[in-house]
Symmetry: C2
Subunit: 326 residues, 2 copies
């Protein structure tokens, strides 16, 4: 009787100790979805160096700025940028009021669900689609995006689009913020599309989202946008908007395409410890393996520069234990 009670009690304690150890290990590992390896080591090593107030690489908190591309870096981007898929769906809702769209082949392709045809217009076609579907009152637009995220499902995974954010990158965002970083999204996508969900999905507040933008129309007590793209936040444009709005050079940057390369190089060009990381899409089974070739965007020079510069390559198949949040 005593022995039985003792042994039950012992197993109890052993179980509890195991649980505590697991919790402690979790707490000790800020990036549990990253497989041990050079990429993970480089990120953790960087954060430890810049926050060690007695080390030579120490960076004061106000200087701890980290910038992140969104499409392909924080969430998936296949078969095409999700903000464009929103534009297609919204086009369908608006079409009945726009008989004149019958003359636009790109719009007709988008309405017919013909992705290839919709992309055949290149950047000009995409800009026209965005202008037609993103214009109008900003609050109403954000509400549309939220409603779409709640109802739309990805054609291949069946997931909500905002459930296709990358779990390992969520951990990086949190880890950096826990270490005094301000995390910014610097996206080629539209700034108001992002603001509709960035706070909830990424913990990034509106004022830390920088994106492409339509021309503002400020009324007495409402703000809207004209159907006219004013600024495309891509390539060197990302550097320009970082200079204009953040006003200091980031010490960490994450991207996945040629459009992010100037931002990564700008970050690399500063003095002191730097972290440049490039998400490499290599996982055909769990995500997509498009390497250097995508129907959208260019991914060639970015990868070359990352390899040549010895930047962190986040190879999804190799480095990420999990892709999407459970």
């Amino acid at each position: 009787m005593f022995a039985a009670r003792f042994s039950r009690s012992l197993s109890h304690w052993i179980f509890l100790a195991g649980l505590l150890l697991a919790v402690a290990a979790q707490a000790a590992d800020p990036l549990p979805s990253w497989r041990a390896g050079t990429a993970k080591q480089a990120i953790v090593g960087f954060v430890e160096r810049v926050t060690d107030s007695r080390g030579k690489d120490y960076v004061s908190p106000p200087e701890r700025i980290a910038v992140f591309d969104n499409d392909g870096t924080l969430w998936a981007e296949q078969p095409v940028y999700f903000p464009l898929l929103f534009a297609f769906d919204r086009l369908r809702a608006l079409a009945p009021a726009h008989p004149e769209w019958a003359d636009k082949p790109v719009f007709q392709a988008a309405l017919a669900g013909d992705l290839k045809g919709a992309l055949a217009g290149g950047e000009k076609g995409m800009v026209e689609l965005v202008e037609a579907t993103y214009e109008g009152d900003i609050d109403a637009f954000r509400a549309e995006v939220k409603a779409w995220l709640a109802s739309a499902r990805h054609p291949l995974t069946g997931r909500r689009y905002d459930a296709m954010v990358y779990q390992p990158m969520l951990e990086v965002l949190r880890y950096l913020r826990a270490n005094g970083f301000k995390t910014y999204i610097v996206t080629g996508g539209d700034v108001e599309f992002m603001r509709a969900f960035a706070e909830r999905a990424y913990g990034v507040p509106h004022e830390q989202v920088i994106g492409s933008r339509l021309k503002l129309v400020v009324g007495d007590n409402a703000a809207g946008r004209a159907p006219a793209v004013e600024f495309i936040n891509d390539g060197k444009g990302k550097v320009a908007s970082i200079v204009a709005q953040i006003g200091r050079r980031p010490i960490a940057a994450f991207g996945n395409s040629d459009g992010d390369l100037p931002m990564l190089q700008w970050t690399a060009g500063g003095s002191g410890a730097r972290l440049m990381a490039y998400v490499h899409h290599t996982d055909a089974r769990r995500e997509f393996a498009y390497d250097r070739k995508s129907p959208i965007g260019k991914l060639d020079k970015g990868l070359d520069a990352a390899l040549a510069g010895n930047w962190v390559i986040a190879d999804m198949a190799r480095d990420w234990l999990t892709i999407y949040p459970r």
Copy 2:
């Protein structure tokens, strides 16, 4: 002997107790440079309401955005905006390399120290002065501004210009931040001029400074500006840049001129608790009493709206116990 020791010890304790009481009083009053009255009461009452998580006026921390004009609101602006006085001084330093300036009456007046003549060109003249003296590499420009602040003295007070910030407003900035607010400077002055000293003088980091701007020129590893004003952050422009960069409506705004009125009205137009405050220059003895008339800027409609809207009027002679930091 015992009595002497006791009395010394007692006086010790009384002194210490007094000290503690003084510290406690200081801690209890977040705005010690504001005289008790409706203005102070309105500011403190607002902060207490929006931070009371059980009250009906509670505002969650991410929504606690406060915007401040700079010239005439956070520091003095007479006899003319200090950023313009910097432009005059810099013009003098650059003039030997610019013989072509001999043809510009506004520049010649500025070089001769003729303030009235320098202002005779109106906004166009001011823009030309700024373009000629603010262009070039951004880091070098900020260094120039810092050097100027360290050496230049105000013609009337003999103070450093950055010692002419308003002590009561420094207390408001700190008080709001201590209560979870993000404090933004939204100035008609140049954004890079402000960034040269806003962090040290006001505790406002670069990314929370929004101002007028020159056209950016982004090189491979340096950022400069062309001698071309791209955006004047005044009037409705202040609202546009708040919408674009902050992405949410402020719940508190401080200004002192017609150029701040749209920003104050924009803040007032939101739902829930709001704080709009207008600095009224009424103190000829300790600062300047220009009321509705200034050689620079218009101050008429702003004051009318503040009175009509029952906004907080910070009457400098009445409400401020101290003007400048000691």
